[in-house]
């Protein structure tokens, strides 16, 4: 069943992960979503700052060149942006999750993204 269209910022440096994430978002009912991409945290901060309309969701990788996910999350929160930020990482140790939440992320999910994981995230933030 299709859901309302949302604006998503996908922050991920590896193309393979971006390809899988886009497909998973589409499968989670988002054929009409606007999905912008940022290949590192610095580009993500720029995208958020320059966005014509606020994003509904940010999916943030941890380890990236130039600026990592923790720093990007801190900077986005520092701009007063309240968009849900979900950390996405293959390092799912409690310390990693806690570090992301401390940076200002709202939730954490493990890589690789799937239709099911995204469904849970979208429902949690009332984007489904």
């Amino acid at each position: 069943m299709a859901r309302k269209m949302i604006r998503v910022l996908l922050v991920e440096d590896e193309e393979i992960n971006r390809v899988v994430a886009r497909a998973a978002l589409k499968a989670a009912g988002g054929g009409g979503d606007v999905v912008d991409e940022a290949e590192n945290g610095a580009v993500a901060v720029q995208r958020v700052r320059d966005a014509a309309a606020p994003y509904d969701l940010v999916l943030m990788d941890k380890q990236m060149p130039v600026m990592d996910g923790h720093e990007a999350t801190r900077r986005i929160r520092g701009m007063g942006v309240t968009t849900p930020i979900v950390a996405v990482s293959s390092d799912g140790l409690p310390a990693d999750v806690e570090a992301f939440i401390t940076s200002g992320a709202d939730d954490f999910t493990s890589k690789p993204l799937s239709k099911e994981k995204l469904g849970i995230i979208l429902a949690k933030f009332r984007l489904a």
Binding site: E14, E15, I16, N17, V19, V20, A23, A24, K26, A27, G31, Q63, S90, K111, P112, S114, K115
Partner: protein, 147 residues
């Protein structure tokens, strides 16, 4: 008839890859994400994995040849390979990357070199099977000419 025989071969190959532990259920997830609007999705992800893997393994060999190994840098590359392995469902390669990262944490050059050999063997074995899989898919598609 040819398509049926090729499809049977393809199914046997993929089933064998699961049975040997080369693939995990993430690969099935990818297959389910493929549809008529993205008919080459699995092929795209597999190709990205193969290209990434080759590049990363070459870089790892280069890094481990240096007299002073930067283990954090090596770990970063292994992390990338682990990530792309996880994305495509390459279970064996992913698990070997987990071991590899432990040797990086231990700053063990010997451990890293031995694990690099293992991951290289596993990666190329999987890549060869993926290439055979993609070839069979192309042959099957050729049996159904587009109008």
């Amino acid at each position: 008839m040819a398509a049926a025989a090729l499809t049977s071969q393809l199914n046997a190959l993929v089933n064998n890859m699961f049975a040997m532990g080369l693939l995990d259920d993430q690969f099935q997830q990818l297959q389910m994400l493929q549809d008529s609007t993205a008919p080459d999705f699995v092929s795209e992800v597999v190709t990205l994995f193969c290209d990434d893997g080759e590049r990363i393994i070459c870089e790892l060999a280069r890094q481990l040849e240096k007299p002073n190994v930067d283990f954090d840098r090596v770990d970063s590359y292994v992390h990338q390979l682990k990530g792309s392995s996880a994305s495509v469902g390459a279970q064996k390669v992913k698990n070997t990357c987990i071991q590899f990262r432990e040797f990086c944490q231990q700053r063990s050059r010997d451990g890293c070199l031995k694990t690099l050999d293992l991951v290289r063997t596993e990666f190329y074995d999987l890549r060869n099977k993926f290439q055979a899989m993609l070839q069979l898919e192309q042959q099957i598609q050729a049996c159904y000419p587009k109008h």
